[in-house]
Structure formats: C-alpha cells, structure tokens
C-alpha cells in the first residue's frame, strides 16, 4: 500500500514572505504543528510551531512586550523555516515512509511530485489511523 491512499491532501500552506507574527496567530488557531512553505506551487521549506516559538520572545502579546519583541514579529517565514527536508512521493510504500518518520525523528513527511510540487502531507497520525482502522 502506498502513501497516496492515506496522506492528507487538504493542506494549509504558507508563503515564504509571510510574517512570523501572522504565523504565530495561525498556529494558535489551528491544530497543526507543521506548515509547508510553498512558492510558485513548489515546496521550498517547512515551518513548525516550535520554529515560531524559538524565534519569538516569550513576552510577545503580554504586558511585558518590548519594542524589540515587536520587531521579531516582523521577521518572515523564509528566515525561520527549515529547508533540509526529507520528502517522499505518492507511490512510496507506507512501510518505507513509517521507517523514515520514526528513524529520522520527524513528525511529518511532505509528499511531492517530480517538479517538487506539494501533493500532500503524511503525518504519524495518518499512519496510526491506517494501522488502527484499516
């Protein structure tokens, strides 16, 4: 069985020029921990809620927020995203994808085509659902 049968295809993506401040709000609204960064329909990076919190001051949106904290909100996604990604394709086997997730200690695998256009995202939840409910 290959990953295209279980991957998530309804995706939220962000652009590299988006501000970290917006991303911070976005992560507070959604249940995702990772968002693919896409430019001209091609995957160029991945940004996680952890990347956002590492690059923001803990005083943001608090009474103790300072001017320099506010400046950090203006940074872009491109400045904080991770570009070192392990990707898979639609016909990668679930077994292979599971091993890559586990052994590389990552929680999601972007699924791309030959042109590196994003086609889906495979997370550990997708794999768990497959094993529990299939």
């Amino acid at each position: 069985m290959d990953v295209q049968k279980i991957m998530t295809t309804e995706l939220m993506t962000v652009s590299p020029s988006q501000q970290v401040g917006h991303l911070h709000d976005l992560f507070n609204e959604v249940s995702y921990h990772h968002l693919p960064v896409v430019l001209d329909h091609k995957l160029i990076g991945i940004v996680s809620d952890r990347d956002v919190s590492h690059n923001l001051s803990p005083f943001v949106n608090t009474e103790e927020q300072r001017d320099e904290d506010e400046m950090l909100l203006g940074r872009t996604v491109a400045e904080i995203m991770s570009t070192d990604m392990i990707t898979i394709v639609r016909d990668t086997s679930i077994d292979c994808a599971s091993i890559l997730l586990l052994e590389n200690n990552i929680s999601c695998l972007p699924v791309v085509d030959d042109e590196f256009a994003l086609q889906g995202l495979l997370t550990w939840k997708d794999i768990l659902k497959y094993h529990v409910y299939s």
């Binding site: 392990i86 898979i88 394709v89 016909d91 990668t92 086997s93 077994d95 292979c96 091993i99 890559l100 052994e103 590389n104 030959d114």
Partner: protein
C-alpha cells in the same frame, strides 16, 4: 725587357671537412675556363658525387672564378638517411617518414630498431616488408612501419533451433483461396527425444596488443545457459543440446524451446464450447460465432473465424479470414465484434470488423477493413502477393507499417499511426523518476539499517532486532520494485529504438482520406499518391515518392 702579363685562371680543389664538401679556388696559370659541369665532375672525381649540392654556393663559386682570386666555399653536404616516427593516438600504428641518404650513412635495420626502441615500440609489431622498403628508399617516403593487432571480441552464446519454423516458408494459397499452412507441413510437431536446439557457447575472444606491446583485452562473449522451459530438457550427455521431453508443438522461447501439448479440434462451435488450453490449439475447420479460445502457446485456425475472441500466448495464425458480426444493421455503423490477441505474431488472410493486438508483428494477406490493428513492432498488409489494403479503422504500430493500398475512393476515415515517441518519452520519464525515487529511498533505508547494525552489541535488544528485520524487509521490497523498474526501462528503451525507425510504406496507392501519423507528426494528403514512403526527419514529416 718585360713580356705582356698572361691571363691566369683559377684551379679548383675539392676537399671534405667533416660532412661538408668544400671547393677551393686557387690562382693558377692554367687557362682552362671553368663551368658548372667541371665543378660537378671534380666533385664526382673526388668521390662525393652523391652529396647534396648547394646550387646557390655553386653559383657563387662560378662568380668568384671570374675574379681569379683565392676563394673557398662549401658547395655540398654529405647527408645521412633519416627516420622520423609518428605513433597514432590509439597506439595501433606507427608511421615512419624516411629520407634517403645523400652521400652519407644509409639506414640500417639496426638503426631503425634503435629509433623504435627509443619510442618504446615493440619490435614484434614491425612489418618486415615496410622495414625492407624503408632501408632501400632512394628519395623520401612514409611507411607504416609497425601495427598493433586489434582485440577480437568473443561471440555471445548463440541458440540455434534444430527444427523447421513456420515463418521459414511463405504460405501457399490454394484453389479455394485459403492459406495452406498444414498441407505444406509448416505446422511443426516433435516427438519425445527429438533435438530441439543447439547451444553454441560464448567465446572468450582473442586479446590484441598495441604497438608498444601492451595487451588489449578482448571482451568475452555473453554466456547464456539454456533456460528451463516446459516440454524440453537438456541432453544428459551434451549440455549444449536441448531435447523434447514430450510430444507436441515446439515454440521458441527465451534461451530455449518449450514444447506445447496440442489440442486438435475440427471446429470451435457450440459443440466444443469455449476453449481455454495450456498449450497449442489447432482448429482444422472454423471458429464460429461467439466462441472464445484461449491458448497459452500457438493458436492455429485453418478455416475462417466469425465474431469470436481468440487469444494466443505466442502466435495466432488464421488460414482464412476473420469477420465481425455477420449481419450488421445498415443504419448503424459497423460493429467490431471479433477480437484477436497474440503474444507474438498474428497472421490472417483478411480481417473485417476485428480488433487485433499483437506483441510483435501483424501480417494480413488481402485486406484489413473496418479493423483496428495494434502491433508492438510491424504491420505488413499484402506481403506474399496479396492485395494488401487497409480501409477504415485505426492501424497502430511501434515501428513500421507496410501496405499496398491505403484508404479508398469511398473516403472513409482511416488512421495510420506508426511509432509513438511522445508516449514512450512520457513513459521513459515516469520510469526514470521512479528509479530515482526508489534509489533515494533505498539509500535512506540502508543508512538507517547501518546505524542500527553498528550499535554496541551489548545494547541490542529485541526492539532493535525487530527494527532491523522490518528494515531488511522494506529494503527488499524497494529493491524488488527497483528491479522491475529497470526491466521496464530496458523495454521502453527497446521500444524507443523501434520508434526511431518508424515509417509508413505504401507500395501502390495512398488515398487522400487517410490520416497518417509518424511519431505523432501528422501527414494529411489532399491528393492521391502512388508508391511512397512517409517518415520523419528531425521531427518533420517527409514523403518520398518511389
């Protein structure tokens, strides 16, 4: 009393100073006039007749002779023979530029060998004939003085069938206009123990050597063994001989021969029912409407086929013709209701309202009308003297389509499609991407496995063992997938090779209602054309009249 002064003329002395022939003029009372011939005569008498004369010096000497003063000049030179070698880039030949001696030392065999040794040329490569000619050269010439010997690559294993095959003889058409495959004994049958195939083993080849004596290793021929096939067995005493292990119909397979069991029926009809046979099926009569026959080997029908489905694992040969539904409604378009499928060739007298697919070639004697033909390689309509017409329908081949008459006066739509480079390139890309992705996955999985395997043995527990088992299984699966992709890649490359040779050849008439595609490039004629060939050059369609 003083007498008047007498005219004095110079005297010539010829001497040798190292390799220079020097002429010295001395004042003398000898009144003999001096000429060029005199000087040359003097040089000859002095023993330097073969020396290379300097004509400018000679002229200067003659001018000086008029002045009648002491004068000395080099007028000739003793030149030794010379040899200059040029070794070819691939070190397979040596050219020697020879200039003969002029009064100096001639070339000797030893002198030539010495030069060859300096250039590290092996004396075993020297041509005796060229050597002799170089030594006796009188003027200037170039000789191929040494040559290497190219390696002779070995031959691949050859598998030679030891029985007659049906394609060796053109079919004979009898008085009833039926193709007689059986009466000419073209149908082959073997008995148990009969010799089927001889294996001629690959040869090692013969090493060569270049002019320096360096060995050029010959490429060994590819050695292939017999592949086990049903119905045949390797001879106990001769491992290069294949024998039939049962009675039946031999079919050449990959690196061997399989012998099919044979089912022989008079007709395929309601009485026989549908047939699904593991072996070769022979119908000596006809195949009637709505019958399905599946044979894993060959399928031979002596008579005609009507509105039936025939499938052969190897060749499908029909002595008569094939027709679809016999009484179509006039108001409705004709329906294709006969289906033919063969792993190898399809041969028939004519085809009407038929869908035919072959894994190799399709040969039709008379015509293919309202018929869709698809062949992986060639489609030949009209070979062996048949009328050879394609009228209506779609005819698609991987390589070559050959027909006598294409289209008709009735202007029915006919499509001819030869070669399919675009589709194949898409397929090629898909396979290449698949190979790239699977190779990446393989590396990733193997890297993970290597990390696990290199752990401290004392720290390996059951979890690690389970992990490595799972990884090994995943790796094996990806490797299997990769192997399949590589096989597909080989097949697509073969098909691409065929598509590059795609042509449509019309021997008699091409009507303007025919749409011709050669490697997806269209030719749509507006007038009738006589014998012609249609092909592509650099992506452009070309029509060549014959």
């Amino acid at each position: 009393m003083n007498s008047p002064a007498t005219p004095r003329y110079p005297v010539l002395n010829i001497t040798l100073e190292e390799k220079a022939v020097v002429a010295t003029l001395d004042v003398s009372e000898d009144l003999a006039a001096i000429t060029t011939d005199d000087i040359e005569e003097q040089v000859k008498i002095a023993g330097f007749g073969d020396a290379r004369m300097d004509k400018n010096a000679l002229k200067k000497l003659l001018d000086q002779a008029q002045i009648n003063e002491h004068f000395s000049i080099k007028i000739a030179e003793l030149v030794d023979a010379s040899i200059a070698l040029k070794v070819s880039r691939d070190k397979m030949s040596v050219q020697a530029d020879i200039v003969a001696a002029a009064g100096g030392l001639a070339l000797t065999e030893e002198a030539i060998f010495q030069v060859l040794r300096t250039h590290k040329i092996s004396l075993g490569c020297v041509s005796k004939h060229a050597l002799a000619a170089a030594i006796t050269e009188k003027s200037k010439s170039t000789y191929t003085i040494a040559e290497g010997v190219a390696a002779l690559n070995g031959d691949d294993t050859v598998f030679r069938p030891l029985f007659r095959q049906i394609t060796e003889h053109p079919p004979i058409v009898d008085a009833e206009d039926m193709t007689q495959y059986f009466e000419t004994n073209d149908y082959v049958s073997v008995e148990e123990g009969d010799c089927l195939m001889r294996r001629i083993p690959a040869t090692a080849g013969v090493d060569g050597f270049d002019v320096t004596g360096k060995k050029i290793k010959a490429k060994k021929g590819k050695d292939k063994k017999f592949k086990k096939q049903k119905g045949s067995v390797v001879d106990e005493e001769d491992e290069n001989l294949l024998r039939a292990s049962c009675q039946g119909h031999p079919i050449i397979a990959a690196q061997g021969v399989k012998v099919d069991k044979v089912l022989i029926l008079v007709n395929a009809d309601l009485k026989s029912g549908n047939i699904d046979f593991d072996g070769t099926v022979i119908i000596s009569g006809q195949v009637f409407s709505q019958i399905t026959i599946v044979a894993s080997g060959d399928l031979h029908v002596k008579g005609s086929v009507e509105n039936a489905t025939l499938s052969a694992g190897h060749d499908l040969i029909i002595g008569g013709g094939v027709i679809g539904e016999s009484t179509p409604d006039i108001d409705e378009p004709p329906k294709i209701t006969s289906n033919l499928r063969a792993g190898n060739d399809i041969r028939a007298m004519f085809l009407n309202l038929t869908e035919a697919f072959s894994g190799h070639d399709i040969h039709v004697q008379k015509y293919a009308m309202n018929t869709n033909l698809t062949a992986k390689r060639d489609i030949i309509i009209g070979g062996n003297g048949g009328k050879g017409a394609i009228i209506c329908g779609n005819t698609i081949s991987g390589r070559h389509i050959e027909v006598n008459v294409l289209g008709s006066n009735a202007y029915l739509k006919t499509l001819i499609d030869s070669g399919s480079l675009c589709e194949l390139h898409v397929e090629e890309k898909r396979i290449k991407n698949g190979i790239k992705q699977r190779s990446t996955e393989l590396i990733q999985l193997k890297t993970i496995l290597a990390k696990i395997v290199n752990k401290d043995p004392e720290k390996i527990g059951s979890l690690v063992i389970d992990k490595s088992k799972k990884l090994t299984s995943a790796i094996a699966s990806v490797e299997g997938w990769l192997l399949t992709l590589k096989e597909e890649e080989t097949e697509v490359n073969n098909e691409l090779g065929l598509a590059n040779e795609a042509t449509v050849q019309v021997h008699k008439m091409l009507y303007p209602n025919v749409r011709v595609l050669v490697n997806d490039v269209e030719y749509l004629g507006t007038v009738k054309k006589r014998a012609c060939k249609i092909f592509t050059v650099n992506g452009n369609i070309e029509l060549e009249l014959e």
